[in-house]
């Protein structure tokens, strides 16, 4: 087992495969945990999940038609994010059923198209992710997009707080809440597509949801939740990667499991604190 590990850390492997994966991965985990805070608190947790399935459909169609996957998936998922957020706001079709409708349809289309074209194997790594197979251009793109997402988030932080906490009040103070929802939809869509390549369509929503839930067990302030969620997700990512290399497990799944362990730990701390606070 440790021989394997030694090979992993040879300069060639490290520089060519592991380092890009780590850089791209850290960038995407930070983005997803930042956006996750708002998505969870606005009860839009499932949007990340829905979008990833839609992204899967788009990527499959792109693969079959021999087009650059990202160039197809990004715009499709951005548009889907607009529509899903809109539907969640209107009362005609409730948000969660709208997401279920959209995501299963897209998933079915993706599988139908790729199975017909006999490409299921190529497409299946979008289902489960393949972080070590990220190309150099994928990594560069992830880092650039992540920097944009993080900067936007920092600059709009106070407005994002206000819109997340109380949209009506934010509107009354002149904040254009629907514009922020739009910006948010775009940022989420970008993050989901990037995360999908890394974690796979099935697991990306865990990167969005779990760090925030973990941070909420112990943090009192919004800022605390955002910072803790970011830290926990990066640490989980690194530990998960290490675990997957050490034990030869699937990276995406390992990262999720580490995240869940942190969630349980933080829950225990939160419960103990709560009890000792009351007595």
């Amino acid at each position: 087992m440790f021989d394997d590990l030694r090979i992993m850390f040879t300069p060639e492997f490290f520089g060519a495969i592991l380092l890009p994966a780590l850089i791209g991965g850290i960038a995407v985990t930070i983005c997803s945990s930042l956006l996750g805070t708002t998505l969870v608190l606005k009860r839009y947790s499932m949007i990340g999940d829905g979008l990833s399935h839609i992204g899967y459909g788009a990527l499959s169609v792109a693969a079959v038609m021999n087009m650059a996957p990202l160039k197809v998936a990004l715009p499709v998922v951005v548009i889907a994010a607009f529509i899903l957020l809109r539907l969640s706001e209107s009362s005609k079709l409730s948000g969660d059923s709208a997401i279920a409708l959209f995501s299963t349809t897209a998933l079915a289309v993706g599988i139908l198209v790729s199975s017909k074209a006999g490409l299921t194997n190529d497409v299946s790594h979008y289902m489960f992710g393949s972080i070590l197979a990220m190309s150099k251009s994928d990594v560069i793109l992830s880092v650039i997009l992540s920097v944009i997402v993080i900067l936007t988030y920092v600059f709009l932080y106070n407005r994002i707080f206000s819109v997340t906490f109380d949209e009506n009040f934010a509107k009354a103070t002149g904040v254009n809440a629907s514009a922020y929802n739009m910006i948010f939809a775009v940022l989420t869509a970008v993050t989901v597509v990037l995360g999908m390549m890394m974690m796979g369509a099935l697991l990306i929503s865990s990167l969005i949801v779990i760090p925030t839930l973990t941070a909420m067990r112990v943090c009192k302030s919004f800022r605390g939740v955002v910072l803790t969620a970011g830290t926990v997700s990066v640490v989980s990512f690194l530990l998960g990667m290490f675990m997957s290399l050490l034990m030869n497990t699937a990276p995406g799944a390992s990262i999720v499991i580490v995240n869940v362990v942190f969630f349980l730990l933080f829950s225990a701390v939160g419960t103990i604190r709560c009890r000792s606070g009351r007595s």
Binding site: L156, F161, N168, M216
Partner: protein, 234 residues
């Protein structure tokens, strides 16, 4: 008396149904206006129009004295929004300063002071670092009122401020609002279901009786009019 808000011939719909038409009234600085009306009478729609969230179909809302609609301090109707939301009281209160920020991204020390003063004024300065999940209903309303005060230059708009509070907390809240009106000179517009309390404290009553009929006048005039009998009884 200086005009602070004038509404003329306002008409607005909700879900395609006309709920307000031909509504005109003038609010002066220092007034305490209570808005009465049954459910579905268009109170919430009127509030959205006053806040500038919704554009009226016709008619005009004019603010006096260089005020803008975003300078109205707004206390929304009670919801469970603070339940389970991780945010400290001071984070929530200072978010009321957002309207004055324009496009600058971060709060200045002046705004932090403003938030602190608002919390002190409402007696919640000691709760500043507490999570809003841990607050009682009355404390939560004070927090949201402090946020409204950060946004307010001269005018507070309160949408059923005591809904969900127990009688003691409700009485406290009413006292606080009276004080803000009398001592601090805040102009108050309050939506209320509590007719007796409204007649007691308000200087003006606005009653949205039906889509095309409304009453605006002093509490005495209201009590003597036939419209009130429906609400007060005999």
């Amino acid at each position: 008396m200086k005009k602070i808000l004038e509404c003329s011939e306002l008409a607005a719909s909700y879900d395609g149904r006309k709920v307000i038409s031909g509504l005109s009234f003038t609010i002066n600085e220092g007034d305490y206006v209570c808005i009465l009306g049954e459910n579905g009478s268009g109170k919430s729609t009127l509030i959205k129009c006053l806040l500038g969230i919704k554009a009226p179909e016709s008619g005009k809302i004019v603010m006096g004295d260089g005020l803008k609609q975003r300078d109205i301090g707004y206390l929304p109707q009670h919801t469970d929004l603070a339940k389970g939301f991780p945010a400290t009281v001071s984070e929530v209160v200072i978010s009321g300063c957002l309207g004055r920020r324009g496009l600058r991204p971060f709060y200045s020390s002046e705004e932090k002071k403003l938030a602190k003063r608002a919390m002190e004024r409402l007696g919640i300065a000691d709760l500043a670092g507490r999570s809003c999940r841990e607050l009682s209903g009355g404390q939560q309303q004070r927090m949201l009122l402090a946020r409204a005060m950060c946004a307010a230059k001269k005018l507070l708009l309160l949408d059923e401020p005591v809904t969900g509070l127990d009688p003691a907390a409700a009485a406290d809240m009413y006292d606080l609002i009276d004080e803000l009106n009398k001592k601090d000179g805040m102009t108050i517009i309050m939506v209320s279901h509590d007719v007796v309390k409204s007649l007691d404290s308000a200087s003006r009553i606005l009653c949205l009786c039906s889509s095309d009929h409304s009453f605006y006048g002093t509490p005495e005039e209201y009590a003597n009019s036939h419209i009130s009998s429906k609400f007060i009884g005999d």
